[in-house]
């Protein structure tokens, strides 16, 4: 009885009792959520256009952040290092298309998946060789990202919102909106969607696989850089950053590997739910640290009932 009360009633009573704290928790969940959503988008784009599950997405985050910080360490001004890093990510996309994807085209999916593991290992070694493996500080202030915090006092309580987080959320929204506009309005975006729908047909109308692949891997690179900056600002730039990509896996299970909307909604959902669960159920009842597994449990539950994910593309079939 008491247990049921502490699971079913107490947390909600706490939420209502201290709405200011609830806002704080939801906000923090939202910030992680947009990051998960971004990373998941990187996965989705690559998967849609080439049926490759990109294992290297995580290491691309590290590599992008390392390049940015490493360039700055070597005396490149921060605002110049940013476009230079983008160039490096573009070069990486071209190289991956030339060296890995093109020769392996038409091979079974699992071989391409293994190839992305190869890319991961290569980037680990290459990044360490050039920039060293020690933990570095992200050049947050040099990039002009504000560090202070906004403070509110809603409902007679107290909410503190870091300006860096606001920048993150705004930046992520801008990125996502730009990406959606690109996918839905531009010729290349249309080609990416077409390729996702029917590979053979896309080839037959003359859509160039190489161009599209370079493009989606570059977009994944840009996303990696954005997440690398934000996550690096919180946790420092090191190879441990890679784990953020694995946080995107439950998002993909939840949202479906092929759905752009799924990636966004799934990311936000997982970000917010895992924070709420941690604060209101995890800490009082389970001794905390539930964020490490909550997302996977949630994804597992969803998979049991909807194997294609919440937003997996409906298979249109006509007989």
């Amino acid at each position: 009885m008491e247990l049921a009360y502490s699971i079913l009633v107490q947390p909600f009573a706490d939420m209502v009792g201290a709405p200011d704290f609830l806002i704080q928790v939801v906000w923090e969940g939202l910030v992680s959520g947009v990051l998960y959503a971004l990373i998941a988008l990187g996965f989705v784009l690559i998967y849609k256009s080439s049926r490759i599950f990109n294992f290297a997405q995580g290491i691309m985050v590290v590599f992008a952040a390392l390049t940015l910080v490493g360039l700055h360490e070597r005396g490149v001004p921060a605002l110049l290092a940013l476009p230079l890093t983008l160039l490096v990510m573009l070069a990486l996309a071209v190289a991956i298309e030339r060296v890995v994807l093109r020769p392996l085209v038409n091979q079974p999916d699992i071989i391409l998946f293994m190839a992305t593991i190869g890319i991961t290992l290569f980037l680990v070694g290459f990044g360490e060789l050039i920039f060293g493996g020690e933990n570095k500080r992200m050049i947050t202030s040099e990039l002009g990202i504000p560090t202070g915090s906004f403070e509110f006092e809603p409902f007679g309580g107290f909410v503190s919102i870091e300006q860096g987080d606001v920048t993150t959320v705004v930046g992520a929204i801008v990125l996502v909106v730009a990406l959606l506009a690109f996918l839905n309005r531009s010729k290349m975006g249309r080609a990416i969607r077409a390729l996702g729908d029917d590979h053979q047909a896309a080839l037959s109308v003359g859509i160039s696989l190489s161009t599209i692949w370079v493009l989606v891997w570059f977009i994944a690179g840009v996303i990696a850089l954005a997440t690398g900056i934000v996550w690096g600002a919180r946790a420092g730039v090191s190879f441990a950053l890679e784990v953020i990509a694995y946080k995107a896996l439950p998002v993909l299970m939840l949202g479906g590997l092929e759905s752009v909307t799924g990636a966004i909604v799934g990311g936000l959902m997982i970000g917010i739910l895992e924070k709420l669960f941690e604060i209101y159920w995890g800490q009082p009842l389970l001794g905390g640290n539930t964020e490490a597994w909550f997302a996977y449990m949630l994804a597992l539950l969803v998979l049991l009932f909807r194997p294609q994910g919440l937003f997996g593309e409906k298979i249109i079939e006509r007989v």
């Binding site: 038409n106 053979q200 037959s204």
Partner: protein, 279 residues
């Protein structure tokens, strides 16, 4: 038997497409085409006929080079499009040069709208948006039904509408030649007629040459001017469409008429397998 009328196959000189004795192998081991030769004159409609598995689709894919995506390759012979060898070109480059395939089974982009499907056909074009818009209008004027369905997801449209979408999408690339694979598949006879009428109109008004692979020999031979009949990877018969329609063997095996008086299997298939040109 009556031999097909003595019109020689169009010579490569006036042909927009000439396939010379090609051999196609899948997965390095399976020989599918054993020396196929054919030619399509500029502005012509040529039918490629034959039963299931005769090699029609493979021939078209060898020309459009979609074969490589299925681990097939042309191991012998040559394919000339507008006088240049094209076996090594990517589909992208071929479409750019004006040769595009409409695949069997339509293959529309199911989650894209009909209009997006059509626009995706203009991928290889570098000209102004206005020209592409104008061509979109042109496609809608040939297929008024597509204009009504422009906003619906292609996957939810009917088979006929999907076939129209697929042909319209190919038109958006401004092709000189369309390789049309089984346009009649799964369509009601009336719709088949409608599609072929449009093919004829496109051929006359836009000057697009067509190579159509069909199992529906009857319809194909009414619209095409020349025909080739494939059997297990070889051209066994070719000739003017009118001559093929009168051929006893074609009548019996492909049109399902005639052949009275033939009772013994020994008498069947007495036409010579013609070896063409080389080898």
């Amino acid at each position: 038997m009556t031999a097909p009328a003595a019109t020689p196959a169009p010579q490569p000189a006036d042909a927009i497409l000439a396939v010379n004795n090609i051999e196609v192998i899948y997965d390095h081991v399976i020989l599918v085409l054993k020396g196929v030769s054919l030619a399509v004159p500029r502005g012509g409609i040529v039918a490629l006929l034959g039963a299931n598995g005769a090699g029609k689709t493979t021939t078209l894919k060898a020309i459009s080079n979609l074969l490589r995506a299925e681990r097939g390759e042309v191991t012998k012979g040559s394919i000339m499009f507008e006088g240049e060898r094209v076996e090594a070109l990517s589909p992208n480059e071929l479409v750019r040069r004006g040769c595009i395939q409409v695949m069997e089974g339509r293959h529309c982009f199911g989650h894209l709208t009909v209009e997006d499907n059509l626009l995706s056909g203009a991928f290889t074009r570098r000209d102004a948006k206005a020209a592409i818009r104008a061509d979109l209008e042109m496609v809608y004027s040939y297929f008024p039904r597509l204009r009504e369905r422009r906003g619906s997801q292609a996957g939810y449209t009917s088979g006929g509408e999907q076939q129209m979408t697929a042909i319209g999408r190919a038109l958006m690339s401004r092709p000189k030649m369309i390789l049309l694979d089984e346009p009649s598949m799964g369509l009601a006879p009336q719709l088949v007629e409608e599609i072929f009428e449009i093919v004829k109109k496109l051929n006359e008004e836009q000057g697009v040459s067509f190579l159509l692979a069909e199992q529906n020999t009857n319809v194909a031979l009414r619209y095409a001017r020349y025909g080739y009949i494939l059997e297990s990877g070889r051209v066994v018969l070719d000739g003017e469409a009118s001559a093929l329609r009168e051929n006893e063997d074609v009548k019996e095996f492909y049109l399902g008429v005639g052949g009275e008086g033939r009772k013994s299997f020994r008498d069947v298939k007495h036409y010579k397998r013609r070896k063409r040109w080389l080898s």
